[in-house]
């Protein structure tokens, strides 16, 4: 790079994260678009954190996980039903990893053979499975489904179902997610922070959009520095010019929003990299994209005190679950990857002594048809999920594991099962653990009243301590 000709004596101004109110619109909401830190918080607050830190990690399995091949009946008539429905894509019962005895709500179940690490966490009481979860506006019967009464919009469509898992509003499209709405309520606990409490390894995502809090995107290597402004890189007049361009008032809305996004990224990077750069986690992670993503999340969690964060959400995605063409072979690749990365993450959380304070949970567009189209399966509805963390009441199966025979009163056709637990209940349990008060649950989950009464004093499901 030809920079010898530039004067390298640089005075570097600092961005503090307080934005001048942009010329287009000075509504408080607009300024919070820029607000990857909290508006109006005194930066000088000293951070006296006690050990009360909590974070949720949403692991989104993109495409619709074939989760009746992940959590599988392993014996007896329950297995026979599974085998009869799934035929060529059924797993052999002898290969399934046993998950304990049967219970009132489930038969003897086994885990896909590629997930021994997840089984080990289950056996240690740090992982639990939640059966047959899916989007619902309210509980519906097969009859009501056939009449299309109060069923989620565009069931079986990827984009809509991904959104509905993120918004928990299957009856009306919205542009906030439940993670963002929870963050809006909890942001007061993060005094003096200079970055968003909602961190994403997968870019902009609806799950983390709130009204005041928005996702902050980082890479598996952390946040990205703007070269023109980095010490020793840009010349003084280059960095002055860049700052002036960033601080300008623009005539068109799109220009303003674009530059504000850049401006915010720069401020957040200063804070984030300062807190996290030097953090080293000794636990080895698998050399996969998911492994790297979870490794970065562990580092970010380790930097939470410097960032001034007591409540957080993280969002990470792994695609490739839309197994229309081939279920068995594809699962042999992707499920071990998930199991190994999640197990490494748990080990890292123990290393940095926050194992009880972080909970990872899966989400996915939907489960898949019990019947096959040959070697693959198609879009369905209810599916199985898992949660991992020290605060999980693990070693158990929650929810109602359905019969996997065809043509039951849950089967809407081809083995697409009506969920026996709403996403709302599953996620309300997580939000409640994160710290959303009972009085706030209806704000975060507007339909929760169809499934659970926040004033009941009982947990929605009971898998968190």
């Amino acid at each position: 790079m030809n920079r010898n000709s530039f004067n390298s004596g640089i005075t570097r101004r600092r961005f503090v994260g307080q934005m001048a109110c942009a010329g287009i619109s000075c509504t408080p909401l607009f300024s919070t678009l820029l607000n990857l830190s909290l508006a109006g918080r005194a930066a000088a607050d000293s951070l006296s954190l006690d050990s009360d830190y909590r974070a949720l990690v949403c692991l989104f399995l993109g495409g619709g996980n074939d989760s009746f091949n992940m959590l599988v009946p392993r014996s007896g008539s329950a297995y026979d039903e599974y085998k009869a429905s799934r035929q060529d894509i059924a797993l052999d019962s002898s290969t399934l990893l046993p998950l304990g005895p049967s219970g009132p709500n489930h038969p003897e179940l086994g885990l896909h053979p590629g997930m021994p690490e997840l089984k080990a966490l289950f056996d240690q009481g740090q992982a639990a499975f939640i059966a047959n979860v899916g989007s619902l506006i309210r509980p519906v019967t097969l009859e009501e489904f056939r009449k299309e009464t109060d069923i989620p919009l565009s069931l079986f469509s990827h984009s809509n179902q991904q959104q509905q898992w993120m918004t928990c509003l299957p009856d009306s499209p919205t542009n906030t997610g439940w993670g963002g709405r929870a963050a809006d309520l909890l942001r007061d606990q993060n005094t003096g922070t200079k970055v968003s409490m909602s961190i994403s390894l997968a870019g902009n995502n609806l799950f983390q959009y709130g009204r005041q809090v928005f996702p902050y995107s980082i890479t598996p290597n952390g946040s990205v520095a703007f070269k023109s402004l980095a010490p020793g890189q840009g010349s003084p007049f280059e960095s002055v010019a860049v700052k002036s361009l960033l601080e300008q008032q623009y005539k068109t809305l799109f220009e303003q929003v674009y530059m504000d996004t850049t401006h915010s990224a720069i401020s957040a990077h200063e804070a984030f990299s300062g807190a996290v750069e030097h953090i080293d986690i000794k636990t080895p992670f698998p050399d996969t994209t998911l492994g790297k993503d979870l490794h970065m999340i562990a580092r970010a969690i380790a930097g939470r005190e410097a960032l001034g964060l007591k409540r957080q959400t993280f969002f990470v995605q792994r695609g490739g679950f839309d197994m229309h063409a081939e279920v068995l072979k594809n699962q042999e690749t992707v499920l071990p990857e998930v199991s190994q990365a999640v197990a490494a993450f748990m080990t890292a959380l123990k290393e940095i002594k926050v194992a009880d304070q972080v909970t990872l949970f899966t989400a996915s567009d939907f489960g898949r048809t019990l019947t096959s189209n040959g070697r693959g399966s198609d879009h369905a509805w209810g599916g199985n999920h898992f949660v991992v963390g020290g605060a999980v009441k693990g070693g158990k199966i929650y929810g109602q594991y359905p019969s996997l025979a065809l043509k039951t009163n849950l089967d809407t056709g081809q083995g697409r099962l009506i969920p026996t637990m709403a996403v709302d209940s599953y996620c309300a349990e997580l939000a409640r653990w994160l710290g959303v008060p009972a009085s706030g649950l209806a704000t975060v989950f507007p339909n929760i009243g169809s499934f659970y009464s926040p004033t009941s004093g009982q947990p929605p499901v009971g898998f968190m301590t």
């Binding site: 299309e148 674009y258 990077h269």
Partner: protein
């Protein structure tokens, strides 16, 4: 009109009696091509927009596959060395490492190559497809057609992220050529070509799809049936001719299809496979460079009632007729013109067209004025020549955020990008900018057509799809990458990068205001505000005139990252 003498001072050729100003020409070329060049600006000024488009349509189709196949494939891996204690077999020991095989084309014709066994077509790694894409997008003279194909790849998405394409790079390149050949023809033909393509059948998993088996629980794969409706033709909700959604008596959106419709439609897309699978359905030969066949024995030829009875396909028809009937049903659906028109407008001119603009374009899709439905040349003309696209009004909400990838290509075109060794070696930039052609993460493309970043855009009821890939990572890594490229004088990070030529600009460097006029035209369509211009000029003026190259690089960099470069009005 007098000659536009001001252009002579900005480093652009002066044009006698220009039809449009240089600024207007640049703005048009940002919409209609991969970016303005000095020559194209002059041409548009000389002949105007409509004649430029005619001229473009008369250019030969500049395909990508012949270029790929005329370049040597990767050499086969050499025989492994003997392990310690083993004697290498004498035959292996005498075998020299294999040289790169000869390219197939033009020694063999394209027709011959298409009939060859797929494994003999040659091993091209995925980046080779991207190199050819860059070469054509930068240098091909049929810019409009190339730009249109690039847009169609974001509707009829196939992606190299699917492992199935690992050894079939040539098929992905051929798919792009399908979009080039049909992209400005008739939408019905384009839809058929896509449906019969090896790539789409692989990506949306209907290659080898069979009719239901009454003895087992197997039934047809529904993937293509759903996505051809949701993403390629009618969308999820009923639309008025101007693209606004229809509402029922309760004020709710009206779905265009339900799950039963998907199941029925899935029965149509059964029996598709490569030629030569009569005797071996599952493991017959691959034919990635040939259109697919529909095998009657594997196709569901029963009666099918599509879209709740809108079209009933009788039993017993030849399979291809079933497919034609289904494609006709979707093509003729009243949603298709506004749905497809909105997609195209978003890719070329505006994220938030007025409903009148959208309605005008959709009307041309419905009937091009000569009784033909689906005339894509007429539709693209309507999009680019509409007053709403040509006039920069006072509407602060007009225009769109430019696709970041297009800004990179435009930079290379603006500075006469050349390859040092014949290949335009640019690839794998998607982690920096959030997109790369042919590498989407799913059939839903890089961004949703109705994505609205939270804040004033969403609150104003507007959308900005490209903001979906604009986040704290990409909003910094894109300017960083531009900086590296501009200061290095080359695009890419592969090595043997495409060179950028600043010689014209270096001549203008001593006079910063003229340099700024020139760059404002080339890189922002003459949209740079006085304030932006002042900021950049002040920085450039700090560099002595004895360092014209440094002045130019700083000016180019700051211009390429300013808001007016990022947003097209």
């Amino acid at each position: 009109m007098a000659s536009d003498s001001s252009t002579a001072l900005t480093g652009l050729p002066s044009v006698e009696n220009p039809v449009v100003s240089a600024g207007e020409a640049c703005r048009f070329l940002i919409q209609a091509s991969f970016g303005p060049t000095i020559e194209e600006i002059a041409r548009v000024q000389q002949i105007g927009y409509a004649a430029w488009m005619d001229n473009q349509l008369a250019q030969p189709v500049q395909k990508h596959l012949p270029i790929l196949l005329s370049q040597p494939p990767e050499p086969p891996k050499p025989a492994p060395a003997a392990k310690p204690g083993e004697t290498m077999k004498s035959a292996d020991a005498m075998q020299a490492p294999a040289a790169a095989p000869e390219p197939l084309y033009p020694a063999k014709s394209m027709d011959e190559i298409r009939m060859m066994d797929a494994r003999m077509v040659g091993n091209y790694y995925n980046h080779r497809r991207k190199f050819v894409w860059w070469q054509q997008s930068v240098t091909a003279t049929d810019q409009l057609r190339q730009r249109v194909a690039y847009a169609w790849l974001q509707l009829f998405v196939v992606s190299d992220k699917d492992d199935a394409f690992t050894n079939f790079t040539s098929s992905l390149v051929d798919y792009y050529d399908t979009l080039l050949e049909n992209g400005l023809g008739n939408f019905r033909d384009l839809l058929k070509a896509v449906t019969y393509s090896y790539c789409m059948a692989t990506y949306l998993t209907y290659l080898g799809n069979e009719k239901a088996d009454p003895k087992s629980t197997r039934r047809p794969d529904e993937n293509y049936a759903r996505e051809i409706m949701q993403l390629f033709t009618i969308g999820l909700y009923e639309l008025n001719p101007n693209g606004t959604p229809k509402l029922d008596e309760k004020g709710q959106l009206i779905p265009t299809y339900n799950n039963d419709d998907v199941r029925e439609m899935a029965r149509v897309f059964t029996g598709f496979h490569c030629t030569g699978h009569e005797k071996n359905w599952l493991y017959g030969p691959r034919c990635p460079l040939q259109p697919l066949q529909v095998y009657a024995e594997r196709h569901d030829s029963g009666e099918k009632s599509l879209l709740g009875g809108r079209k009933v396909i009788p039993a017993g028809q030849p399979p291809d007729k079933d497919v034609e009937d289904a494609l006709d049903c979707l093509f003729n659906h009243e949603n298709t013109p506004p749905f497809v028109s909105r997609f195209l407008i978003e890719r070329f001119t505006s994220s938030n067209p007025s409903k009148e603009y959208l309605g005008r374009v959709a009307k041309v899709f419905t009937d091009n004025g000569k009784g033909v439905r689906g005339d894509l040349t007429a539709v693209i003309r309507a999009i680019l020549l509409d007053p709403e696209a040509r006039q920069v009004g006072d509407n602060p909400n007009s225009g769109k955020l430019r696709e970041p990838y297009l800004r990179l290509v435009a930079l290379v075109r603006a500075f006469n990008g050349k390859s040092p060794d014949g290949m335009y070696k640019v690839a794998y930039l998607n982690d920096l900018v959030g997109q790369e052609p042919g590498s989407a993460f799913s059939v839903f493309n890089f961004y949703a057509p109705d994505y609205a970043p939270p804040g004033p855009i969403a609150e104003g009821g507007m959308v900005g799809p490209e903001f979906e890939i604009t986040n704290a990572v990409t909003s910094v890594s894109l300017p960083n990458f531009l900086r590296d490229c501009i200061y290095n004088g080359s695009m890419g990070r592969w090595g043997n990068n495409v060179t950028l030529d600043y010689s014209q600009e270096i001549q203008l460097a001593p006079r910063a205001s003229i340099l700024m006029d020139h760059l404002s035209l080339l890189l922002t369509g003459d949209r740079m505000s006085a304030e932006t211009r002042g900021i950049i000029r002040r920085a450039v003026d700090q560099i002595p005139e004895t360092q014209p190259e440094d002045r130019v690089k700083l000016a180019v960099y700051l211009t390429s990252i300013c808001a007016e470069s990022a947003v097209q009005p």
